[in-house]
Symmetry: C2
Subunit: 397 residues, 2 copies
Amino acid sequence: MKTGIAVAMAAGLCCAQNPEAFHPAPTNVWGAAYPRVDDSGRAQFRVKAPDASKVQVNFWGAAKLDMLKQPDGFWTVTSAPLVPGFHYYTLLIDGAEVSDPGSHAFFGGGKDASGIEIPEAGATYYLPQDVPHGEVREIWYNSKITGSWRHALVYTPPDYDTKNSMRYPVLYLQHGAGEDETGWVRQGHANFILDNLIASGNTRPMIVVMAYGYAKRAGQPDIDLFGKPFGSPEAMKAMQDMASAFEDDLTQVLIPYVDAKLRTLSDRDHRAMAGLSMGGMQTFQVTFDHLDLFSYIGGFSGAAGVLGNQKLDTKTGFNGALADPEAFSKRVHLLWIGVGTAEPVRMHEGLLRVHEVLRQGGIKHIFYESPGTAHEWQTWRRDLKDFAPRLFQEGAQ
Amino acid sequence: MKTGIAVAMAAGLCCAQNPEAFHPAPTNVWGAAYPRVDDSGRAQFRVKAPDASKVQVNFWGAAKLDMLKQPDGFWTVTSAPLVPGFHYYTLLIDGAEVSDPGSHAFFGGGKDASGIEIPEAGATYYLPQDVPHGEVREIWYNSKITGSWRHALVYTPPDYDTKNSMRYPVLYLQHGAGEDETGWVRQGHANFILDNLIASGNTRPMIVVMAYGYAKRAGQPDIDLFGKPFGSPEAMKAMQDMASAFEDDLTQVLIPYVDAKLRTLSDRDHRAMAGLSMGGMQTFQVTFDHLDLFSYIGGFSGAAGVLGNQKLDTKTGFNGALADPEAFSKRVHLLWIGVGTAEPVRMHEGLLRVHEVLRQGGIKHIFYESPGTAHEWQTWRRDLKDFAPRLFQEGAQ
């Protein structure tokens, strides 16, 4: 194999000039000049594919951008201004969907995809600031449910290592479908959001556990979601099998592991769960099945009873937990639902409907709309920024 | 952007049958059936590129494998048996060098490249076992040297969180050129190697700090290594500028930060440094410049005075530290050098020559050869397995 030293030449990297006020994107690998962005949010892409006949930039769910071949064998294109925040993308090279070597990889869509960060003017809450920083820890635990080693990320607050007798509340925070346990840190910057919120004094120092959201029971065949039409009974069944195994792993293995391994406050008054999209659905399933374990609940662009023709029935839904609004709001300190105004209509209207049903039923909750953002990380960063300060406070809501 | 739920369909994943005793590689993303490996170490690759005219698998430094187009638009190829261990690779699609969507990305060659793990029969020392596990922590520190936030990974041993008054020795462990601070965990499995060594009772529980090996001084222009011939004076100058900034960042910022933040034993008798390839060169530079800080030194396939026509002079080299062998071996508890027997001749012979010069000079040291492995991670995993048990022990060597 190639020597590391020879590889150095490809890695030393550098430093194109930016005559048009374009700068390398913050999501680039060290020294890569492309992709690059300007202050209006336009992005320029460039990739070497000398023998290709067609190359496109593929922003997921948006129109593809045709790249233009240059005499030097590189293909280039400049986008229209993009919404600030983090956007997944891939390249389509003669029909192959691949990542851009200039960008770091971010796990999404079931693979290490490319991502580009478009800065939001004035928004520093998700960037590293000169404040005390917590740590993100990787843990591995051997799950009797799945019969496998599982990996999770854990954020510990800045003073965790110095206040040796302090115990902390815990937020379980889940990624979306196609993503994994690294999403909330890599794409979401949850650690920086918490650092900044804690430093401002408005948010209680807490531990955040980010689990791997896929699971199948030990000895069971692989869960095959391929080739099943979206929303079909077969696809929903496969999803539910996975959700059920995930629920048991989380409640029977991971929570006890975290409570044994870290200095947690392990009663329900000091345990929260939230998640985005699929993670929001998982949150509603897990928390309403286990109100003995959780007292704070957050659904970010995802919650049970959102999609299709389902309508939440506050009398019978969620095991009847909502039937007595007063009892519910004593038991659940926070029920929080958020959505971006630019999300797909089905998601936006579905969550508006949940909000309306809860309101009509007199169920105390918070409903938050992120202006101008879609089903993407800028929405979920804002969600966390609104959600976290409401956790583990006296008189929450 | 695409909804997370729709993305789920691409991510649920699964489960091809393996009629030829091929199994998905352990380095694959969840559920990807390809690439896959058999017991002889052969690897099968498969990628969708319906409109491409030429697709190859590019094992770095080895011959490229031509893939064959199938009627379904997928390209496939089966390799000859590969040496066990971790191998970087990319795909060449009509001249574009890109990663394989079926494999996880590993930072190497200055980008998120693909990697494939070929199991080594009987070798479990770098795999997760049912033993107590340490944690890998991500830390960020604000460096006055580079004027930027820097990221490092830190391994803490299994009992770190329960033995609240215990202090631990520290190993600084560096990646190679083109890689980054994640390499020793993602590719090298350093955390599992330490877990297993500590569990066996032969290795003292220690903290391992893995720093980002690139640096440029605050306010300095980008270091441009592009387009400079390998080994040229300009390339060496650029490398040295970077090494110098790295040395100052490590010794003036990171070490004090780690000693303040973690429960370390902070004297030189309890601090080691090792690195692979470029990291080995950095180790020799940093430790011999700072013998007040370090007393254990390891060069894994890399050490000062190895390459080109340089020959180590034990009287004048390393600031004269070797001139008095007896004094040196009292001061430096371990000098350890390793190389794979299948490495490029220049590297293998260069390190044999260092070994021989040290031997002739009467300088106490350990020289280790990894049988049959090249300039790659299986060599460095074995190095760490031999090196770590020798650290921080009475009567080391």
